[in-house]
Amino acid sequence: MKKILFAFVLFIAFAANAQSDKYVAGMQKNIALLDSAKTTQDFLSVSNAFERIGDAEKTQWLPYYYAGLALTRAGWIDKNLDKDANSGKINGICDKAEAIEKNAEICTVRNMAATQQMLVDPQSRWQSYGQAASAALEDGIKLDPNNPRLYYLQGMSIFGTPEAFGGGKKNAKPLFEKAVALYKSFQAKPLYPNWGQKQAEDMLVQCQ
């Protein structure tokens, strides 16, 4: 009887492992592609690849997370990209991810999507997209108060706001300090997001 069970477990484990090997390999390959992507086209195709993995897996939020993250990267580098369309797509992907699991990492992607839309025309978009951006981070802090990326992004937002409106280096500094401290103790699980530490450290230097 034990043997049957053993065999059965082994079988399941093996099948799952084969499945997970494919998933892990697919994710690793595309994370490497994301890290080496340079053009909008690169980001778009790696985002599409992640989205395909997500659509095929159906129970993994990480592929969607990376699909969204790749599009935010395109948003940062490409001045001519239609930010409303791009962010609309990002939010659609985040919806799919959150249908599987709600977490702070997805909130960071939503924050960047809204920030990019706000930057199109800060004057008239501050109220709508600026608030959506900070609300995304606040949601994230509720879900995981120890996620360093949330504070790094908060710091970036304050850093970019004119001093007269409550922004500037001085006000951003404590947030970067908090982010850097949290990065030191942050242990990313395999395949999980692990970006922002160097950027946060660099920003903290700029705030000195």
Partner: protein, 772 residues
């Protein structure tokens, strides 16, 4: 039993063994396979091209084999290529934002596959063309907004008067001697204002001869403003040249108390938002007294009654369950003034004019989302306005003088007049979303108007039951081509006549941010009240508009070029019966044509926002006492404005300048000849008009987190350079051109200084919003 059990165990063991063996084989096989899978498995290439329905390539589209990791992204030519180890029937999915998803069943065998995907563009309100011919949308929420509500308030020279700010847009004339918007050769009364869909009967403070009055409504009441200079929707009628559509704000964001302190005006008000944030109410009171100001800044007229204005308002707003909103706004105003100016017919006599006004305005509206894509807008309004006017000729010692009929031209200048206008109205508009983003709108309105005038002791009055039915459809053929077709039917009981007014406009997108629009429409308007008092069987006046417009708009730059032709028919002509007594007919005609340019740029100079408007106007009309077609006194050939705004964040101060220029306007004197007809006895052209307005706001609360008190200090000066404006001339009864008198503003400049305070709400966002 035991045997059986053993047997079973045995069997099971055997089976397990078998499985284990299988496992090992399988393990082994998989192990080999996974190591060299790419080499061993037959891969099939799938390639193709993604295009839209017009055959243009779509780059960046995602191509995937459903439920697998395999797929690709189309390149800049729409081409894609990938390989797969899958076999058999699969679904190939092609997706791209803004397009409908493409799906195709494919059978993967050993041969490479080619798939041509044709994606249909989704109709999208964001991408679709909008009809812009003739209309300037201003508001924060509206797409295609040209000015935001705060822009209206911070336009130098406007002193937060909506109409004055709209005069910096092309199409409107710089008229200083009368209130109203004079649009494209149209008189002031040819432009009408609507709040939440219903007509405002008395949008301005009551007329004073030769001095333009302000609008009654503050720009902060409204979240959106549309200034249409022609070709407007079939939902609106009874305006020959222009409509201003004002949309009131919804629920306030927070409860607050506001105060205004200035040497001219004090005010206090509150807005209260209920806890559930589903409803709000508010009221405010303002008192304006220019006595102190007139002591400090000398005015040309002698004000024997200091202008004073009391105004109180109240409102409530309730959000409904299905996302609709009910809004009620009421305002009561009382004002008085009296001023004495030299009489034009003598060198020493004076003309004393006194006015008392009562005005009560009510507007109730209900916007509701019904099921099946239906939307409903109901509006109801009641307003009553009474002016008590006394005009009296006085001698040098300010004593009244009376005349007999031998000096009838002086006798008629002494009069009392009580004018009353009441308007009750209801309006219903139903909107149904058709397929895609097309809409059908229809509805009706009913107005009951009572107008009376007691001139000396004679009562004139009429009532009018006016009804209208209208239907309009926005049809999107594609994202790039849209049409708006409308029809309006109107009937007025006092005129005893009906009319049918068709409206058509088209818009075609010529590029990513550029479009061409065209509009055509027929517009009718009832004659003015005084004309109907004397001649009730008049017909509608009529205008036909033809407009073509080009617009290129990016997030921080707008370019608009518009040309138009407008034909006037059935304008009201005055027929003198005796001196100061007239009858009227509909024999007047006219035309207006012109071209206009608008350019707004927030980008070229950092933190600096400016716009430039230019209007060219060629217009002539024969109406009222004009004996032939003449350029009307309210038309200038060239008009231009430059509006600039700059906010200095480090000193938390905004500085705004507006410069307006217009070429001279004609002036005329018409006299009656022996056969009882008007003739042109004298004419001329005023000098050009120049005006430089300045305003500044200091917002010390900016940057403080959640300040308890939000403060704005505001200061403004009109006509900084002290230019002597002449709006026209008044002629004496004799018609002697030597004795004509220039119509000039009551003072060269108008100064305003004030402090606006609010408690309980962080208004910083507004300031950031506007100035970041």
């Amino acid at each position: 039993m035991i045997f059986f059990k053993n047997h079973l165990v045995y069997n099971v063991n055997y089976f397990t063994f078998e499985i284990n063996l299988q496992f090992v084989k399988y393990f082994f096989l998989l192990f080999i396979l996974s190591g060299i899978s790419s080499g061993l498995t037959a891969q099939v290439a799938i390639s193709g091209r993604v295009k839209d329905t017009k055959g243009h390539p779509i780059p960046g589209a995602s191509i995937s084999l459903k439920d697998t990791y395999d797929g690709a992204t189309s390149d800049s030519t729409g081409a894609f290529h990938f390989t797969t180890t899958e076999k058999g029937e699969h679904i190939l999915i092609v997706t791209n934002v803004g397009y409908n998803t493409f799906e195709q069943k494919i059978n993967i065998a050993n041969e490479p596959l080619k798939v041509e995907a044709s994606l249909k563009e989704q109709l999208s309100e964001l991408k679709a063309v909008t009809i812009t011919a003739g209309s300037f949308a201003a508001g924060d929420s509206k797409r295609g907004a040209v000015l935001s509500s705060i822009d209206v308030a911070t336009t130098a020279g406007s002193n937060a008067d909506i109409t004055t700010a709209l005069k910096t847009l092309p199409g409107a004339q710089q008229i200083g001697e009368q209130e109203g918007l004079f649009v494209r050769g149209g008189a002031g009364y040819e432009a009408k204002q609507y709040i939440d869909g219903t007509l405002v009967n008395n949008p301005y403070y009551s007329s004073v001869p030769d001095i333009a009055q302000r609008g009654r409504f503050s720009p902060f009441l409204f979240k959106g403003t549309v200034f249409s200079t022609g070709g407007y929707s079939a939902l609106y009628g009874q305006a020959l040249s222009s409509v201003v559509l004002l949309e009131s704000i919804d629920l306030p964001e927070k409860s607050e108390i506001d105060a205004t302190i200035s040497p001219l005006v004090v005010g206090l008000g509150t807005q209260q938002l209920t806890k559930e944030k589903k409803s709000s109410y508010g009221f405010s009171y303002n008192y304006t007294n220019v006595g102190l100001y007139f002591d400090a800044v000398k005015q040309t007229p002698d004000y024997f009654k200091t202008p004073q204005f009391h105004s109180g308002d109240a409102n409530f707003r309730i959000k409904t369950k299905s996302g609709g909103i009910i809004k009620y706004y009421t305002t009561f105003g009382y004002n008085q003034l009296g001023l004495r100016r030299p009489d034009v017919d003598s060198l020493y006599l004076k003309n004393a004019f006194a006015l008392t006004n009562h005005n009560w305005y009510n507007n109730l509206s209900w916007k509701e989302y019904l099921s099946n894509g239906w939307k409903m807008n109901l509006g109801a309004g009641y307003s009553t306005n009474t002016d008590n006017i006394v005009q009296q000729i006085e001698n040098a010692g300010n004593q009244p003088l009376y005349f007999d009929s031998s000096e009838y031209w002086m006798q008629v200048k002494n009069f009392t007049l009580t004018n009353r206008q009441d308007l009750s109205q209801i309006k219903a508009v139903f909107e149904k979303k058709l397929g895609g983003i097309s809409y059908l709108r229809f509805g009706g309105e009913y107005q009951y108007a009572y107008n009376s005038a007691v001139y000396n002791d004679t009562l004139h009055k009429f009532t009018d039951n006016f009804s209208a039915l209208f239907a309009e459809s926005d049809i999107y053929i594609t994202n790039d081509l849209a049409a708006k077709l409308g029809m309006r039917f109107e009937n007025s009981s006092v005129l005893g006549k009906a009319d049918i007014a068709p409206r058509v406009s088209l818009a075609y997108k010529t590029g990513q941010d550029a479009q061409i629009s065209a509009a055509y429409g027929i517009f009718y308007q009832k004659p003015e009240n005084t004309q109907i008092f004397y001649t009730p069987n008049l017909g509608y006046t009529k205008a036909t508009h033809y407009i073509i417009n080009y617009q290129k708009m990016t997030k921080d730059r707008t370019l608009r070029i518009e040309a138009y032709y407008k034909k006037y028919e059935d304008l009201v002509e005055t027929v003198p019966v005796s001196f100061n007594y007239f009858s009227y007919n509909n024999n007047g005609t006219g035309y207006a044509q012109g071209a206009e340019l608008f350019w707004r740029d927030k980008k070229t100079f950092k933190n600096f926002d400016y716009w430039i408007s230019y209007s060219y106007l060629d217009t002539k009309r024969q109406f009222l006492n004009y004996p032939q077609q003449l350029m009307p006194t309210f038309a200038a050939r060239h008009t231009a404005s430059i509006v600039t705004k700059r906010f200095f964040t480090d000193i938390k101060t905004g500085i705004n300048l507006t410069y307006s220029y217009a070429t001279g306007r004609p002036y005329y004197d018409f006299l009656i000849n022996n056969s009882g007809k008007y003739y042109l006895s004298d004419q001329g052209m005023t000098k050009d008009y120049n005006s430089l307005g300045f305003s500044a706001e200091y917002v010390p609360s900016i940057g403080k987190k959640n300040p308890r008190t939000f403060v704005v200090l505001f200061a403004s000066v009109t006509n900084v350079l002290g230019y002597n404006a002449v709006y026209g001339y008044n002629y004496p009864y004799s018609g002697n051109p030597e004795l004509k008198r220039a119509i000039e503003p009551p003072a060269k400049r108008f100064y305003f200084i004030g402090c606006f305070l609010s408690w309980g709400v962080d208004r910083t966002q507004d300031a950031i919003n506007n100035n970041l």
